[in-house]
């Protein structure tokens, strides 16, 4: 079970790194008039999905930990 929890944490960390990249992409879109607004919208939607995934994974993580420790 501990391995599963570690995998969940690794996945959350990977998603956070992806969100950081999406943030930098959106900043570039904001500064560069040559880039379409569609890129920023797509990045925002992806970031929203990523944030939802992180919260779902965290919920799963905490529930799994609770059942493991019996707390």
């Amino acid at each position: 079970m501990n391995v599963v929890l570690q995998m969940v944490m690794a996945l959350v960390t990977a998603i956070l790194l992806g969100q950081l990249w999406l943030f930098t992409v959106t900043l570039d879109v904001m500064e560069n008039p040559a880039v379409s607004i569609r890129v920023a919208i797509a990045a925002t939607v992806c970031s929203l999905l990523a944030c939802g995934s992180v919260w779902i994974l965290i919920r799963f993580f905490l529930n799994a930990e609770q059942s493991e420790t019996g707390g």
Partner: protein, 169 residues
């Protein structure tokens, strides 16, 4: 005779070991990760909203005269500020009837660019970035984005500069 060891008074008043004080539970750590994700989302939304606002409400600024035509020789330039005193710009006279104007701040780290008449390039001395004087596109060095270009017209022997032209892909 050994000294009698008395427990410190502060240990009695604050019985929290430093190891326990700095201990972070998994629950706290995951909460931190979740809030970090939320912060990234808010930042992304803010940047996208600002881009959208720029498109929906472009800055309306009127053209202003920044120089007389005979004031600038062919191959010469003039520095001015537009649209506010905090926005340094550069006006170039490339040919007899060809004027171009750019925001003087380098798109890398905002150092002021200077005009090199011989190479007809705008050069950033800070990190050796080079831009085309014709259209402001980056030619070499760290800058990846073009200089913001201003619209230039001539009227009654005066050079008028207007708001930035939005480049489109």
């Amino acid at each position: 005779m050994g000294r009698l060891k008395m427990p410190s008074r502060w240990k009695h008043d604050f019985p929290v070991p430093s190891a326990v004080d700095s201990y972070v539970t998994r629950r706290e750590f995951t909460k931190f990760l979740g809030l970090t994700s939320l912060a990234f989302l808010i930042g992304t939304c803010a940047a996208a909203a600002r881009k959208l606002a720029k498109l929906l409400f472009p800055r309306q600024t009127s053209s202003v005269a920044v120089a007389d035509i005979q004031e600038i020789p062919v191959g010469g330039y003039k520095l001015f500020r537009y649209p506010t005193e905090h926005d340094p710009c550069i006006l170039l006279r490339l040919e007899e009837n060809q004027f171009v104007a750019f925001d003087q701040r380098c798109t890398h780290l905002s150092c002021p660019v200077v005009f090199n008449t011989a190479t007809r390039q705008l050069a950033c001395p800070c990190h050796e970035g080079f831009f085309s004087a014709e259209n402001g596109l980056p030619l070499a060095g760290p800058p990846k984005r073009p200089l913001a270009q201003l619209s230039v017209t001539t009227e009654n022997a005066r050079v008028l500069v207007g708001q930035s032209e939005e480049r489109t892909a």
